[in-house]
Subunit: 345 residues, 2 copies
């Protein structure tokens, strides 16, 4: 049990009788060392307690094998799913992921970016914060590292790679579905915490106009930026339902979390949203939040292909990693949303 603790490769070298450079090569890639040495080292390591120093190993390598990921907040299963798919993809590719959460604070986001630069990460993937973000941060990262933005794309930022959902397609898809199967939807906006909020609004509007219908957007009045989407959806619709407004409407919510609040508002007013009674209240969302299929009624929505987005972001990053000087013409990958018809609309 009480293996002797060895703190440096030099000591280890002395302890098991293999030269330090050979040990160094062994830890980086055992196949670069002859079988007899590998065996000798392996046996030696069983006798002692030794862990290579992380900092010392990374300091001199041209590549650190780490990629940095920033997500805006943790208390949202969409981002945790995204993060998970990124971690898995990165792990498969042999990279270590360093995650930082900006907690909705541009200052923390900027600090996280500096940390990545200071750690010499090989590349960075960022899900932007939103309007509050300092675009300089992204430009800075992009100019110094292989860099990919995901999920949400700043309008006035150019030359940066992006992977996300095609909101024109996804929002258009469900807008069209709602219109076709029941009445044309009104759009329950979400707090403008990121650029997708606006993109979906605009996608809704243009699809409605394309269909020759009048777009109606509600929920702009109570935009608490705290990310309490459910409370937002509940508050807005409770307000309208109290006045008898929209009780027979098709309501397209900017995302599923808002829709969950909307379902709650309906319940509080004795309304039963669903596609069963034609002409009645219907509620739909966007994202296919993991809990949506368990809601009552189950929530009709458009699924984002989170898995593919994460994988594509990592793939693109690694692609940029491999080339020396990235001529990098900008790449924008937009994934299609998939309609999930359930009970609520």
């Amino acid at each position: 049990m009480a293996k002797p603790e060895i703190h440096t490769m030099e000591e280890l070298s002395a302890a098991i009788g293999v030269s330090r450079p050979t040990l160094s090569r062994y830890f980086q890639d055992p196949t670069k060392v002859s079988k007899s040495s590998v065996e000798r080292i392996r046996r030696g390591l069983e006798q002692v307690e030794y862990i290579p120093n992380f900092f010392a190993t990374r300091m001199n390598r041209k590549t650190t094998g780490m990629i940095g990921v920033i997500i805006p907040y943790l208390n949202d299963l969409f981002f945790t799913r995204l993060l998970e798919s990124i971690e898995r993809a990165a792990m498969r590719a042999g990279y270590t992921v360093i995650t930082q959460c900006s907690h909705s604070d541009p200052e923390i986001e900027a600090r996280a970016a500096e940390t990545f630069l200071s750690m010499n990460v090989d590349g960075a993937v960022v899900a932007p914060l939103g309007n509050h973000s300092d675009l300089n941060v992204y430009e800075r990262l992009n100019s110094r590292l292989p860099f990919v933005l995901m999920d949400s794309r700043p309008a006035r930022l150019s030359g940066v790679d992006f992977v996300g959902t095609d909101h024109v397609q996804s929002t258009g898809l469900i807008t069209e579905y709602l219109t076709r199967v029941g009445g044309p939807p009104v759009f329950l906006a979400m707090p403008r915490v990121n650029f997708n909020a606006l993109e979906r609004e605009m996608a809704y509007t243009s699809k409605m106009q394309e269909l020759g219908l009048e777009p109606t957007i509600i929920g702009m009045e109570s935009l608490n930026a705290e990310g309490h989407f459910e409370a937002h959806g509940l508050a807005v619709l409770d307000h309208y339902f109290s006045k008898g407004d929209f009780i027979n409407a098709s309501i397209l919510c900017a995302n599923d979390r808002v829709a969950i609040g909307a379902l709650r508002a309906a319940a509080q007013h004795g309304l039963e949203p669903g596609t069963l009674r034609r002409g009645g209240l219907r509620i739909a969302g966007h994202d296919d939040y993991p809990l949506s299929e368990f809601m009552i009624p189950t929530l009709t929505t458009v699924a984002q292909n989170v898995q593919a987005i994460g994988q594509a972001a990592v793939d693109r990053l690694i692609e940029k990693l491999r080339v020396e000087k990235p001529q990098s013409n900008q790449t924008v990958q937009l994934m299609d949303g998939v309609l999930k018809v359930r009970q609520s609309a």
Copy 2:
């Protein structure tokens, strides 16, 4: 815009005419340097682009200012809330948090622990994986670092600090409430992904016995360890409701996510759980999952004080950090749960 990029302190020293050791001290603590020098350095830094190398700075310090956190999975808002409170507490105390997610895999958990040791983190906080975890990992960390376990406590592990909820109290509280207000509850178990699953089961059983009632535990048959709690609750109760079993029961679910699945099962069978009709179906959970208050009906539950647990874990860690050789008599902090009476029970 195009500030000259400076890569070492030496270069910086030459560029702004301040000696390297002074710069070193400046970056560690500006107050250790005279005002005039601070001003000179500050002005200099505005002219050039320089970021201290993270690895080089950490390598020689006795303290790295980092604490490692391991959580079992990401796709659960309970753990993300816990993680968030830890990050905030650590940030307030001036520490950098390195987060690793074990993705329900003991091997990844063990690797994460090695990474922490190799990075010389000042301390580590871990939410254990469960029965599959290798206890040696925790003992190893505990013997080499200031170390605190949280949320869930391995039964056969001794001498390790712990912060979590007192499940005897919390589960007892809601068991008693359910018994008092309606019928005595049956317990819908959750997959044994961690030690809390068992603790809650046992707490339920002993409280029932204390009340002179017969404990009934269901849901042991379909324990998929994948952490799909909602699907588990739904599958188990769908099965029973189909046979007409438990349709008028009080059902205490091992956690809120299971309860969300239970609510869904009730809905599918036309059942309306709630406290309104005495003697009818009632469903309750545990944890106060962020979405519970938006469920239909709103979910009665016991809230864990996530905020306090995270803060206490960090506080205890820092306490251990400060003393040289921790005599450390073991500390176990158990927080009380708080009853949240809502509509479902």
